[in-house]
């Protein structure tokens, strides 16, 4: 049976974090109720089309999925189980904000079948959490983590964020070491990226590209920002420290920002299977506003307007937008820029099997150029980013897109 993954978007937040550009909505009780009714209806109506599929992973994200009453997540889980066929040992993850946590909720989630928890910690320095606009402090995180273990969660991810305004190398290492001491199964450690349309963007401007760093620091000075972003040198040190500390403490990096605890029997055991589906271009369905789907090389997204989503009661025919059948070229591009995010890289033989043409014929020149620049390396059947290439992954990945003119010639 063909596998499928499911993503459920729960957009509600108590308060939007200052760096966040994901789709979220205020947490009115009445709105939540109407949203969940539409969501349940979308799940039921969509499932009809996918009777022949077997669910291998589920991810419930947000927003803050742990904010609404736990009964809603339980109903969503029931709807999924009633309407989809599940594989054996599916991975079912859910995001948890420590500011919304109770032991009771966690117990209910566990009972509902959720077997992997992703806790948004970000930092263990209260001042940094305040600057990020988070709704919890370090103590709140510890309570949440302990309760999660007590509720029976044996697969936990902790989200961390480096290069946060006001952060120092010492404070970052302090957070990292305290987290490593807990020995969670998985750690996501992202460098803060300033996204357009967020309050941070207004304050700090675009630092997503290294070459703008100098200008951005000047801009901070000019705006009289009291709390400054770590400078480039510090940011790079934090990043190098992260990799080193993780490896020394029994973790391996399997994707640019994701680390899994090594397991003696099965090294890959704690890698997030759901995320791998995205990088490996497996099929997935997204439910809820703004959720994205990929099915048989067709991509689409649900509408982003919550009022519209509710008034259409999640009718799949009405809420799906931006439907795009991926051309062969677009598939090749995705194969490269998604696959290269994985530490192991892309498989040369898989490219040829999938597209019926050797990778060298399509991307030979580019791969050679990047090999010369020591950004890519080949190891056996794999092509992967080098350490330097990982730092500059955007630069490399953008080159695997075709010119629009090329595509027209096809």
């Amino acid at each position: 049976m063909m596998p499928i993954s499911l993503y459920i978007h729960i957009p509600f937040c108590l308060k939007k974090c200052l760096y966040c550009d994901f789709l979220s909505a205020p947490a009115e009780k009445d709105l939540q109720e109407r949203y969940f009714h539409a969501l349940l209806s979308e799940i039921v109506r969509t499932a009809e089309e996918y009777r022949d599929r077997e669910v291998i992973t589920v991810f419930i994200g947000g927003g803050t999925p742990s904010l609404p009453d736990a009964k809603w997540v339980m109903q969503v889980m029931d709807a999924l189980k009633d309407n989809f066929r599940f594989a054996e040992h599916p991975e079912i993850s859910m995001e948890m904000n420590p500011g919304t946590e109770t032991l009771e909720k966690l117990t209910q989630y566990r009972k509902a079948g959720i077997n992997r928890l992703s806790i948004g910690c970000q930092s263990l320095q209260d001042e940094e959490l305040r600057i990020l606009g988070r709704i919890h402090n370090a103590a709140g995180f510890y309570r949440c983590y302990e309760d999660a273990r007590q509720a029976g969660f044996d697969n936990i991810n902790i989200d961390l964020m480096s290069a946060v305004p006001g952060q120092t190398r010492t404070s970052w290492l302090d957070t990292l070491c305290k987290i490593l001491a807990l020995s969670p199964e998985h750690i996501s450690a992202y460098s803060l990226i300033i996204e357009e349309g967020t309050p941070f963007y207004e304050k700090y401007g675009d630092v997503s590209r290294g070459d703008l760093y100098d200008i951005t620091l000047q801009k901070q000075e000019a705006n009289g920002q009291q709390v400054k972003l770590p400078d480039e040198e510090t940011e790079r040190l934090m990043y190098a420290d992260t990799l080193q500390y993780m490896c020394e403490n029994g973790y391996h990096r399997y994707e640019i920002s994701n680390y899994a605890r090594n397991d003696v029997h099965n090294r890959n055991r704690y890698e997030c299977r759901h995320n791998r589906v995205y990088w490996e271009r497996g099929d997935y369905l997204g439910f809820g506003i703004g959720a994205a789907s990929l099915m048989d090389n067709i991509r689409w997204s649900n509408c982003r307007d919550i009022a519209r989503y509710i008034s259409e009661t999640g009718n799949p025919d009405k809420i799906r937008e931006q439907r795009e059948k991926l051309s062969i070229h677009a598939q090749m591009e995705e194969f490269m820029f998604l696959g290269l995010r994985l530490t192991e890289g892309i498989r040369i033989s898989e490219f040829e099997t999938y597209f019926g043409v050797p990778i060298a014929e399509i991307y030979g020149n580019r791969i050679r150029k990047f090999q010369q620049e020591k950004l890519l390396e080949q190891k056996g059947d794999f092509i992967r980013l080098t350490a330097k290439g990982t730092d500059l992954s955007n630069y490399v990945m953008a080159e695997f897109l075709f010119d629009h003119a090329d595509q027209k010639n096809e």
């Binding site: 994901f22 990226i193 995205y278 997935y284 997204g286 955007n394």
Partner: protein, 517 residues
């Protein structure tokens, strides 16, 4: 823009002086009035923008009388935007502008004051008929070229459109078409007459204007060189002051050295090429025309700094000097004088035209005002200063060529001529600017400014160390793809020089050096 004004004035019997009620008399107001008076035109003022809260029509009237010295008490108070007072203007035209003179019975004599190119009808020639009549079907002759064409259509101008009619007679302004494909045949300033019954002599036409500012224009995509050539040819049709000739640059390939009346003219042409002809351009540093006196006694007109002969062959050089008038409110006189000082200006005089305003007269080297002088003037006077200038002549000057090297390669398109006293400062600022303009590469890029091989300033673009996509969330791949596409698109707007990719806009941006903003 002087050129357009002057050309139009030659086709008129009178002129309406439009004064902004919020600004009063400006330097260019004066310049335009003098030009109209030079053409013996009757001028009457109107006060525009009276609908604005900041309008001070009484002040404007007083200024016109005090500063320009023409009667303005009865000036119509109007708002062109709101349609206020327009009838008064039309009445005033009837009463205050003399009726055109000319003999409809005499042989056709008409002046071409502008023209545009239409891909279906060919050249549309704008004329003022002095004597005689032009009508459909008749054969007309362009007196300077001798070309004879048959008139297909005549007409006059309506708001935003052409209105065909049977004939245009002495005193009228309008247009004609004659399936003219060769745009060289219809020169602005030429006289059009009846091919069968020509007038005895041509109208004086226009003084040929010499371009004052030159720069290189190159297609961003080298394959589009022929398109750029065609576009320039068409633009020249209604812009006789635009000059161009082919040139090549090591850095930029094939392009054109173009001559303009000033920096504003350059920007207008560049804008039109990009917008109307959909061309992506790389513009090199604007340069004035220097006179290079060589040791062998010959004089060489230098329009491209890259062509400067070896210093050993140069006896001395001369640069163009302009006399400029800056009108400014008295509180900013200090700042403006400082600016002129920095730009090697020679102070001539200050005239206070009323309590709050002064006219500063300076002689300035043209090469000091072509880059960003207007911007600097505006920013240092909060927009209150206005500036007008005319070429005075050439003066000997200590000039040197500043070369810019990027990653140790000399970029000819960035070379420019500068006075030796300002060379160090200029070089330093250029390097600083380029450092901001050039994105980081995988390797470190030194940027150096040099005079005759001696490096006088250096900056470094650090190597790129981090360029990573954010969290890829909820499988929203399309959004990540867009980010990558944007990045790739950005690269296309780059010009590869050696190993280094330089944004096209950098070639002009590095010249905007005033940093007091």
């Amino acid at each position: 823009m002087d050129m357009k004004v002057s050309r139009s004035l030659a086709a008129c019997d009178g002129a309406i002086l439009v004064v902004d009620a919020t600004q009063g008399v400006e330097a260019q107001t004066l310049a335009n009035v003098y030009m109209a008076l030079d053409h013996d035109l009757d001028v009457f003022p109107v006060i525009n923008k009276i609908d604005l809260p900041s309008a001070q029509p009484e002040e404007a009237i007083k200024e016109i009388e005090d500063v320009i010295g023409i009667e303005a008490q009865n000036a119509p108070l109007i708002s062109a935007k709101m349609g206020i007072g327009i009838e008064d203007v039309l009445e005033a035209v009837v009463h205050r502008i003399p009726a055109p003179v000319g003999d409809p019975a005499a042989p056709l004599k008409s002046l071409i004051f502008d023209s545009i190119y239409d891909s279906y009808r060919g050249v549309i020639v704008f004329i003022r008929v002095r004597d005689g009549v032009i009508r459909r079907g008749m054969s007309v002759k362009f007196m300077s070229t001798g070309a004879v064409e048959e008139v297909v259509e005549v007409g006059y101008f309506g708001p935003g459109r052409f209105i065909p009619c049977d004939e245009l007679a002495a005193g009228m302004v309008g247009y004609f078409t004659a399936s003219i494909k060769n745009i060289q045949d219809s020169r602005v300033g030429d006289t059009v007459t009846d091919a069968q019954n020509p007038c005895k002599e041509a109208l004086p036409g226009y003084k040929k204007v010499m371009p004052m500012v030159y720069c290189g224009l190159y297609p961003a995509d080298t394959a589009r060189y022929p398109e750029l050539r065609d576009a320039l040819e068409k633009l020249q049709l209604n812009d006789a002051s635009l000059f161009y000739e082919p040139e090549t640059s090591q850095a930029l390939g094939f392009g054109f050295r173009c001559g303009f009346l000033g920096l504003l003219h350059l920007e207008v042409v560049q804008e039109r090429l990009e917008r109307e002809y959909n061309l992506d351009l790389v513009t090199t540093a604007p340069s004035v025309v220097y006179k290079v006196h060589k040791t062998d006694g010959t004089i060489f007109q230098l329009t491209n700094p890259a062509n400067l002969p070896d210093p050993s062959e140069i006896d001395f050089m001369e640069e163009p000097i302009v006399s400029g008038e800056i009108m400014v409110t008295t509180e900013y006189v200090g700042q403006i004088m400082q600016l002129c000082q920095e730009r090697r200006g020679k102070y001539l005089s200050t005239d206070y035209i009323e309590k709050t305003r002064a006219v500063l007269k300076y002689e300035l080297p043209l090469n000091e005002i072509i880059y960003d002088f207007f911007d600097a003037l505006k920013s240092r006077s909060r927009g209150f200063a206005s500036f007008d200038y005319e070429l005075k002549g050439y003066e000997q000057s200590e000039l040197v060529k500043l070369d810019i090297m990027i990653n140790r390669e000399n970029v000819d398109a960035l070379s420019f001529i500068v006075h030796k006293d300002g060379a160090y400062e200029r070089g330093r600022k250029m390097c600083e600017k380029l450092k901001d303009e050039i994105p980081r590469h995988l390797f470190e890029i030194p940027i150096q400014a040099a005079i005759g091989g001696k490096v006088i300033a250096r900056e470094t673009v650090k190597a790129m160390r981090k360029d990573v996509l954010a969290k890829c969330y909820g499988g929203d791949i399309s959004r990540k793809r867009k980010l990558l596409e944007k990045q790739k698109e950005g690269k296309k707007k780059m010009r590869q020089i050696g190993n280094v990719e330089i944004p096209q806009a950098a070639f002009l941006n590095v010249l905007k050096l005033d940093d007091t903003k």
